[in-house]
Each structure stands twice: as structure tokens, then as C-alpha cells.
Symmetry: C2
Subunit: 245 residues, 2 copies
DNA sequence: AATAATAACTGGTAATGACCACATAACAAC
DNA sequence: GTTGTTATGTGGTCATTACCAGTTATTATT
């Protein structure tokens, strides 16, 4: 990709500069813990103002690629810290990132009136209908998790089985077909034991330990749009988290 | 607290303004989803420049208190979204937040040469010695977790049992006594089954499901300073996470 | 009353300029 | 060779100014 900022491009200059620096980091231009050019050097080199440079650098810092030290410089984060902050991803995205081929078996997809607990989580009045999608998630053809999503749809919105197969990910369907952009989520993780039904679906013994993940997802306007329960086979799933202080 | 920016204060103006706005939000000056004064209004009201206002607002947005919509305004986030991004906290802090009184039984605290795996995680050469602290963590007097920490200390640094009791938290000891500031961490969560020894310590049956949390903590200079394994009783611990996109 | 055009208000991007605070390098004095 | 001072380079804070892009309110036209 280009090493230069296109001053006539609609893409903001700070973003272009951030992308350039990110590429250079990815390509090993600077080793971890090595300093990158100073703000004033970048200002001269790319012919942008120092606030614009600082905005690009702050953006990369936010993503974890670099860190800054007052009076000393700006440094490349050690490789393992060069990861995005904990981000909201779909199950499919999670597995792809781990190098596992995700696939799914759609057990059912229909409109239901869920429990009061779920309606409460979704901030919906009683007797509201939502789309319930039950799926077995597989990684490299092996069952990994059992997932039940409750999606809040508008009156003129619908998701069907073809959508899920075609787009590959529920979040992608929401974004591209419905203009619902999953933005934030709250999750809980806890241990549970497989019921006979769950055991059958996940190909484990009844009573086997499972990891229960419940997630409430909000859209770009902070409105709850999905409540999902995922039961992971305890032996096949490791949840990875990145924390900051 | 003051409603005004002290222009002679050493505390940055953007930070003072952010604190003022945060207090007003906390005190219900604006309801969730209600707009706060525009950037230009705040500029006039507090006699600071618009870039300074924007920096304060960006800070609050980062913390989750507000969200912005291009061309529309700046709004207070719904209450439940007004939470700090997922942050690195100690076990004690976690429980206090949940309204549970944390306490601990220190099983052992001594210098050891840990396994190669742990040395690798801590980026230490072979045969390095670290401080190993084994504790049973209790919430409201009930065993919740078994925690084994491997802490990297400098040659002139030491932590003993009195330190842990006196400061109440390992992170507090590190910060206040050793000037080691835990800043970032990577965690994994997975399900495991209690060995007979673990079962005894946690007062569960052997083979009971446990939640295994492994965390590698970095200090302010991104150096690994602690590797910790925590086994939680599956029936008494729920892990809560906040995600963004 | 409905519709289109315009104005006003909102957040977003960018430059110029100045100064503060921290860290390090260079230099002078002993 | 050591120590203290000064200079330089670094990131951090702040103000002023201008313009862009999105949204909403107001006004004009039909």
C-alpha cells in the first residue's frame, strides 16, 4: 500500500497516516520496543500538522500497536501486545482468527415470545416477539458450541436460513442487510454441566462441564439488539481476553 | 466538587472539564440518551477552546459515559453502558465490586524456579527464580478460588505475607511498595475438572467443574511481571466482560 | 397543507503557533 | 573521571482559525 498521504483523498489524513505506520510496523520496519520517528519528524516527512500526527498516533496507541513515554518517544508495542483491544466479534470471526474453519448447523430459526428474563435483558415489553436462532457451531467439522440467539428485529426486517448461509455470520447479516451495527456487548462466563439434550447436541456425556457464555449486544445507538447464550464444550474452547488498566 | 475550570490548576483543563461533565452525568443532570450541551456551548460556558472541549468529550466517550452522533449531538449513554472499559483489576477488587467481602488464606509464599512454560510466559531465562504465592481466595468466608501467582521481582525487591495482609491486594503491594504498576494483561478462560487436591482446597468433590483463569500481567513498561492461575469453583463464580467493536 | 430550498446547528478534520514537562545528550568545571 | 549545568529532543497541553459533512429547523414556494 501507499507510503504517502493523499492530501486530496476523502479518507482523513490522520487515518491514512495511521494506516501507513501500522503497515510499517506489521512489515517489521521497526522492531518491538524500538522507537518510531518522533511526532515532529513525521510532521515533516508526511507534510501534515502535528495535531494530525498526534491523532494518528493516539489511534494506533488505542489499538495497542504503540505506546508513548513522556519525554522519551513513541515505541512499538511488543508483538503479543499488538492486538486490538478486546473487541466484539462474532463466533465465526473468533474461530477464523484462531485458524479454525467455522461452520454451523442451523437447528431452528423462528419467531418466538421468549422468557421474561430475556425480554427484560432486551428491554422489550412483555409478549414481544423476537427471532430465535438455534445453531450448533462447529470448528473444523467438530461440534464446539451450542448457540441460541434472540434477535430483535424491526417490523419490516427478517432474517432467514439462506441469509445466515449466504452471509456466513449473523453480525454480517445484521450489518449489511438490516443496517444494524453491533457495537458493544456485555458478557458473562460461567461453568455449567451438560443436560442430556445438550450433551447429545455437543457429543459429550451428560454432566460434562460446559462453558456458558451469555452476551447482550447493543447496536450503534446503544439499543439492545441481541441476547445470545452459547454453551461451549469445556474441552474444546478457550476464551481469550485482553485487559487494560 | 467545583463546577468551574481552574485555569491556573496543574490538572489539565480537558481533564477538569471531563470530571465536571462526568459528575453532572452521575448526578442526573442529564438523563440517559439526553443530549449534553454542544461543543460550542461548552466552549463558551467554560472558557476553553473547542479542541480542549473535544478532548474532554473524547475522554468521556472512551470511558463509555457518552456517545456522539455526527450532525446530531453528544448524548449520555444509557446507565448500564456507563461503565469503564474492561479493566485490569485484582481479585479483591473484583469481589468488592460485587459486594462480596474478599479474604484469603495464604497457603505458601516462597521463591521457586517455575516450569519452563511459566518462565517462557514471563520472558525470563531458564532457571530464573520468581516469587510463588499460593492462596485460597474466599468471598464472605466461603472458598471461591485457588490462586497461584508467579511474580517477577527485582533483586532488591521482596513481598512477604505481612505485605499481603497489610496492603490487602497483591497489586497494591506491587504499586505502592515496589513501584510496579500492573497495566495490561492477557487472560484465558477454560473449563477444567477438580483434581483431588484442588477439590479439598475448594471444598468441592473431585471431578467437579472449575473455571480456570490464566493471566499474564504486564507493567507500565509492558514487561511481564506476573503470571497467575486461578481456579474458580464453577458454582460460585461468574466472569463478567464488556466488549466494544 | 405539502414540498423544496435555505439556514443554522451539530460533530469531524486540519493547520498554525506557542508553551509546558520529562528525558537525554552535550558541554563545562572540578 | 565525575559532577553539575545547559541545550536539545521528546511527548503533552492549549488556543485560534477555518472548513467539511451530517442533521434539523426555518422559510419560501406551490
Amino acid at each position: 500500500m501507499s507510503r504517502f498521504i493523499n492530501h486530496n483523498n476523502a479518507i482523513p489524513k490522520y487515518f491514512q497516516l495511521a494506516s501507513i505506520l501500522k503497515s510499517q510496523i506489521d512489515e517489521g520496519e521497526w522492531k518491538p520496543r524500538q522507537s518510531i520517528p518522533s511526532e515532529r519528524q513525521l510532521e515533516l516527512q508526511y507534510k501534515v500538522s502535528r495535531p494530525t500526527v498526534r491523532q494518528a498516533i493516539e489511534y494506533l496507541e488505542k489499538l495497542g500497536y504503540i505506546y508513548r513515554e513522556h519525554g522519551r518517544g513513541t515505541f512499538v508495542s511488543p508483538q503479543k501486545l499488538q492486538k486490538k483491544m478486546l473487541e466484539l466479534t462474532s463466533f465465526s470471526e473468533d474461530l477464523l482468527r484462531k485458524g479454525i474453519q467455522p461452520s454451523q448447523i442451523i437447528c431452528s430459526i423462528n419467531h418466538v415470545v421468549p422468557s421474561e428474563k430475556i425480554l427484560s435483558r432486551l428491554e422489550l415489553p412483555l409478549e414481544s416477539s423476537v427471532l430465535r436462532i438455534e445453531r450448533i457451531r462447529l470448528g473444523d467439522e467438530i461440534p464446539i458450541g451450542l448457540q441460541i440467539s434472540y434477535v430483535v428485529l424491526g417490523d419490516d426486517q427478517q432474517i432467514d436460513e439462506d441469509d445466515l448461509q449466504q452471509y456466513g455470520s449473523l453480525y454480517r447479516v445484521m450489518e449489511e442487510k438490516l443496517n444494524i451495527i453491533p457495537t458493544e456487548a456485555d458478557e458473562t462466563l460461567e461453568v455449567t454441566l451438560a443436560t442430556p439434550e445438550e450433551a447429545t447436541l455437543l457429543q459429550v456425556k451428560a454432566g460434562a462441564p460446559l462453558l456458558l457464555n451469555e452476551r447482550l449486544t447493543y447496536d450503534q445507538n446503544r439499543k439492545p439488539v441481541e441476547f445470545v447464550k452459547i454453551l461451549y464444550r469445556g474441552d474444546r474452547y478457550q476464551y481469550i481476553i485482553r485487559l487494560t488498566r
